[in-house]
Symmetry: D2
Subunit: 489 residues, 4 copies
């Protein structure tokens, strides 16, 4: 997880949502760190800013934390050799503008009276700042600006004798979303918040147990999917095996629906469903709800592809690659010159004229955030000779910011929060525009529709229905800026 001050998240100049983190821990394998590096590589789409791995070699914890991609640092044999041991824990982090500093890179580590403890967090606490203020008043020294550090302090200060008890003590103070993996010299501990907002998976490889964010991280190393960690469950893995604890009162789970919409990799299985199939289903549902009289269906690459295929199959209109993506863009032109900046989106995408020119085109995208990218892509279609351009979005309008670990712009920057459907259509410049309905979203996943009494998913970005307290956001903490010094890595 990341900076607990939500303001850090609001100055994205990109026009996408970003998942904040991915976690991967393994207990009981000789190549623990190498497997963790591979697992993190498979989870790279969940965080490209930084990566870290902690391992315990039987005597001592070793840690490597770096800014950059997993492969930049953790494919190096020497790095992996410094991380010997049969237990390892890793984390990938997203990139924000203001806080790209090494000491925030996870896993965080502390030497407690009970021994070393490393923690990796996916999610975001909604009372992190409030807890931090209380801890500092009691004499705690915080080294990072990450809300995850609060968890370490709570464990350190617990009066319980055993580490697992202390850890659960700490969890009880938390509010918000967390899928946590912690590691001691003898245990790997998974924990998912009472609503199970962010995902957490249990896997197994030749007797070694794995806790990770998505099943694609099991696939890369050929590990077996065991089951998902349940909402409110704490799983303790040790030489004695896997123990399941239930410290919280049972609640119905409300996993975040955005994992289906955008974040999870299409080849992952989540909640028993193929993410790829769910996305195709979004497209099929959309074809039913909002048909279009067009000649060709073009996905906005790469995330719109499954929904566009679904739409094409349901409607019978041919699917074509009308936008070619330059795969070298990902990490290049990070310091663009003015001339380059003026050219905008063309660095990344080019129209494939031969399938557009003279056609009525339907663009299918996964979501609209600010809408700025949509404007550019639509203009590109017209410049390539499209006769008409229509757009279909494979999720409902995003009208509310997230506080659980998704990097959303502030509300007033969300196109759908400030525009009617017709205003959006006009702004984007398309002949027709339609979104998947909220009930359609639920139907595509297999429900009859949204259960408004006991909603099956965390879906506040569409509905405004936040599933937990928002202490920091509503209380005074929201006004306080963290004064911790900034430091170059």
């Amino acid at each position: 997880m990341a900076a607990s001050n939500p303001e850090f998240n609001f100055d994205l100049d990109g026009d996408t949502l970003r998942e904040e983190c991915g976690v991967f821990g393994i207990f009981g394998h000789d190549d623990a760190a190498a497997l963790t590096a591979l697992g993190l590589h498979a989870l790279q789409h969940r965080g490209q800013e930084a990566a870290g791995i902690v391992a315990f070699n039987g005597e001592r914890f070793n840690s490597e934390r770096r800014l950059g991609l997993v492969g930049d640092h953790f494919s190096n044999e020497n790095t992996i050799k410094r991380l010997q041991g049969r237990v390892a824990l890793g984390h990938v982090r997203y990139s924000t503008t203001g806080e790209t500093i090494l000491r925030n890179v996870q896993p965080l580590f502390a030497e407690l009276a009970t021994g070393g403890l490393a923690v990796a967090h996916n999610g975001n606490l909604t009372n992190g700042l409030t807890l931090r203020r209380e801890l500092v008043a009691q004499g705690a020294i915080c080294q990072s600006t990450s809300d995850t550090e609060v968890i370490l302090h709570l464990v350190a200060r617990s009066q319980k004798p055993r580490l697992v008890e202390r850890y659960i003590d700490a969890l009880r103070a938390l509010e918000g979303a967390y899928s946590l993996v912690a590691m001691t010299n003898k245990k790997l501990i998974g924990a998912r918040d009472p609503l199970g907002i962010r995902p957490l998976i249990l896997g197994e490889l030749n007797g070694a147990y794995i806790l990770c964010s998505e099943t694609c991280a099991l696939d890369i190393i050929g590990a077996r999917f065991v089951r998902e960690v349940e909402n409110g469950e704490v799983i303790v893995i040790s030489e004695e095996g896997v123990e399941s604890l239930r410290p919280f009162p049972r609640m119905q789970a409300r996993p975040c629906v955005f994992e289906y919409v955008y974040f999870s990799r299409p080849d992952s299985i989540l909640g028993g469903r193929s993410v790829y199939e769910v996305r195709k289903q979004f497209g099929r549902q959309l074809a039913q709800e909002a048909p279009a009289d067009v000649d060709v269906i073009i996905p906005v690459p790469d995330s719109g592809v499954p929904a566009a295929l679904g739409y094409s199959q349901a409607s019978g209109v041919p699917f074509e690659l009308g936008i070619i993506r330059n795969h070298y863009v990902g990490r290049t032109f990070i310091e663009p010159t003015q001339t380059i900046r003026a050219l905008g989106v063309k660095l990344k995408h080019n129209a494939n004229r031969s399938v557009i020119s003279g056609k009525r085109v339907l663009l299918v995208d996964d979501s609209i955030v600010r809408g700025t990218t949509s404007v550019k892509i639509v203009r590109m279609m017209y410049e390539a000779g499209a006769r008409e351009v229509h757009m279909r979005i494979a999720c409902p309008p995003i009208r509310h910011p997230d506080f659980y670990g998704i990097d959303t712009p502030e509300q007033k920057a969300l196109l759908a929060a400030t525009h009617t459907l017709e205003e959006m259509r006009d702004y984007i410049g398309v002949t027709s525009l339609a979104f998947l309905s909220v009930d359609g979203l639920y139907r595509a996943v297999g429900y009859d529709g949204r259960d408004d009494i006991r909603p099956q998913f965390t879906d506040h970005c569409f509905t405004g229905d936040y599933p937990t307290h928002l202490t920091d956001i509503i209380g005074e903490s929201a006004k306080q800026q963290l004064s911790l010094l900034a430091e170059a890595g």
Copy 2:
């Protein structure tokens, strides 16, 4: 172009063909270097090892040549500022194992008696070593191991008074494939070998003229396509405008068909045809020639996608993304650990089980070189539960190495050079295997078939019919290793 010693090319451990180079020159624009950087970025797929740009600022030539991607170095404002002027010439280079050295990075430059001359080369000379030996015997000093340097020496030694005459003098001595762009303080000069083996395009942007390898490099900066430079044509661009020279006897063009099969970007237009449409046509033709009784069509990403779509549309069998590519792999894990290496192809691709399990699968790929990747991908299909796996290849069997600027393995490493169709099917482990026929290839492009008397394309990789002399390869030079010293960049 690259190292003239073909042996340098034979130790690829990858299993793809690689285009060797891309070129981009512009005359008459205030942002010449920035536009060149963008053009090279669009041509990045033609060479990822190194990039260079030379510009003339009215007084002096300035040059920046770097190992790495275009965006790594040339998106920096300071670099572009050092390259002021209204004329600029750039080059991207492929990566070979042994010769990754800075002094081979193009454009090459020499200060001649007539003034400075920079040259960028796409292609490969088949008498480069022979010419080099003759020049050294006459007292020439070679600084690079690139065959392009031979051209500079020939120009320097020509007895003709004017630079263009000297340059044409030099071209007359060359054998093989070359699309060259040269630059002086007053001119930009394009030249294509008598057969027009490698591509070269003329474009225009607000009165400035551009010479580049593909139309996608025009698209990125919004430039207009004018026409292709013709085989055997020399184009001289100066303040006086564009002049076309024809120093060679007219011959029928024989462009390299591999630009359609693999190298050019799908959104480029080549020989008047959309590369994307040609590839889809390969797939359609293949569906006719080699139908398959299957449930799903899966492209081998990313290059097999258009042919797979074409096959799907022609056959009516649904197209699905059955292999998910990890886009972060491109530049990562360059120093893989043993553990990682043992895991092989999974770093890059993962099976999307939900569309494979229990199905009869047809894989469509653009070509087979060594076949090692195919083996791994087929195995991945079976592991994901495929009931049957069939494979269709959207070009004929590759049986002969290239000497014109494509980075092919030596002949004995080409799967199709040493195996029958049945042996290949068995080696790859598929239920059925079929390649596009040579005549089918020509038909897909719009001909009735191959004209064996006057073939329309350079296609020796499929047919063994090399279109030029191979002086270095057949003569003694082939046995001589260049003894020029190796040097760390």
Copy 3:
């Protein structure tokens, strides 16, 4: 100050003593950070591993901490610009083998309930490990392995209301040597331990006050020397001026005599005496105590020069540069090849044959630690043709390790701890060998001799008379290794 575990210090392969740290703080100047960088540059001889500066810009603390020399990072205008403000605090650190990690680089910083606090430490606590163990048992989380962090925790946990009171509260718990400079958003606070073991100077520049380790750091910026901070004194500098507090019972000062022998720069003034003159006086005293019948006096460069000049002036024997030092060695050959390593000391020094050949030579050095360098230098003299080689050492034999901030080898590696004078003479291979006597050392500084009842200096390295408790060293802590994870910078 540095790692509190003394074992970290014992694997030096060098043969010198090293001062551990230098500090520099300034209050009330617009160029606070630039002046701090210069002050640290003048103190570079006190620590070459790492440097850090914290500044407060009126709103926020900013910090830059780097491995390497001051000039490598802090001469850069951009770095200094990031450190705006009128208050700044800096630190240079020595280099040990095991703990070269960024999070140990000072000043350390913590955000307390009372606001931000930065601390820079010269010295070493002898109860640091013991205090750390107690704090961790109470739930404190330590991020560095530095004993300085203990001070931050003690301040954070103090129950006193005001920061200065909390800070003094913390100091009361400390044992050992400390010259501390701390900084808040409103104050710069200097503190020297009750014995004043390590130096601390008060200076002034155009109304701005400075606290630093040596007067040479005042000279470099043209600042005025005000006075030394006294033993047991706490000095609080704020907009209100300079306030002196005396929280400890008054004791006689016992500054460390090694500042004269080796650490301080010769142009610094310490305890009212010129370090250069004291060293010359050591040489004169040595000439009286241990005359030698020789032709030429040769200093072991560079630290033996003043004593050799003093010996020459007192004895009338000519002083010559018989050993030429290669000034490029300092930072080079850090990864020497075996061949280079086998050549040993010649990389750094060469004999100046013309003043040695055929002569009876007297070498003058400042001290002997392990003796390995002496052996090599003596051999070099004989190889250059010396007829006889004698040696005089300008301090008494070093027989005991230090625990107050000097980087000494463990006792058994100290030549004088395990050899008699005659054994040392034999080991080093000289015709005669003599050390300055303990009383001679005191006489050279101006006393009649050592006052064994109330010794004027901290001199345990010569006498074994440690001036404070050694809780960590004698108690159980000494056996405990810090288990904090190691981390690459």
Copy 4:
């Protein structure tokens, strides 16, 4: 040697002369490259910008050329391993502002018809530009801006059959100063220009022969001094042994006297004399020619020390270290901030007050170039309380620029070229100022005085008597700027 355009040399902002280069070659030792690295390290004072080594491993030449100090790159075991073989040749280069580019770093290498040839050059050609112009007119391509490359082209174009004959052919065309070491796969060839302006030494180590610039490079590896290469001599070292050729008419040698004054290391032996003793003799002679009534003699560090010692011994006035040098300055603060720049010379030197305050001080320096440093040092003396400051310079006034490999400012920037003695005294601000006389210089070296008919040394900087033609400087070439493109390393 370096940029042939003398204008490159005129924008030094420093106030010293700089030797341009050092060379070291060895034939017949298994550790040839490691020994070369050490030899270059001992010659580092002759060039700090860049270093290069070429070795021949029996099959192939390998080369490493780097910007930076020898120890920065060549102490690395891997670098040395890439340079296997029993013959190696190395070079260190000085630093100029405009031309710090990798392709100028020596040894230069060319693959000739007779095989590979590497050349390292100390000196400067006075007809380099003229020769280059002629060669380019004949079709030669120059890759560096170094005049040394001209030599490679001349060898390449010679019509003689054997390499040594071709090499001598090339030497005959040269004018100016050169101590050259060349290397083929079978030979190491030393050559010194007809006047022997720059030094070149022959040494031997266990049967391996060495050619290098100074004897200190023999000392570092324990090699034996054999003799100096004579003026106009060519020495060919091969498996057959050492052969001496005399291709030029015999002339009287005129070595550059500045090697004694400033460049050579004090521990080197040159022309049979100890450089250290010659410098002391300059001081003694100066004491006779220009006595001073003072209390203390202070050397300007480090180069003034031997002359100051000589002056002190001759005059009986005590020698003291009155200026303390900060040894960390060498490579630091290369990008000083304005604040730091304003502080000027204090970064590097500090006055040692205790020996200056209240005294009549005599500063002894080796030479005065622009005089700016002298002004600062004298001011520093007064600020430290000196009662009077006198200055003595251990060489005659420098009134003329050099064109033979010394980096002098243009004539109008030389203080002594534009000021009388009294004006200089006034400008520098001293009570008295005196220079060594030209005849005194010769006397100190052992002659009765300068032989104006057949001068014993090259001494044009003092006398204006240039010993060779100055074709480039006097002719038209001087006005032509090299237009070769600048390129970042």
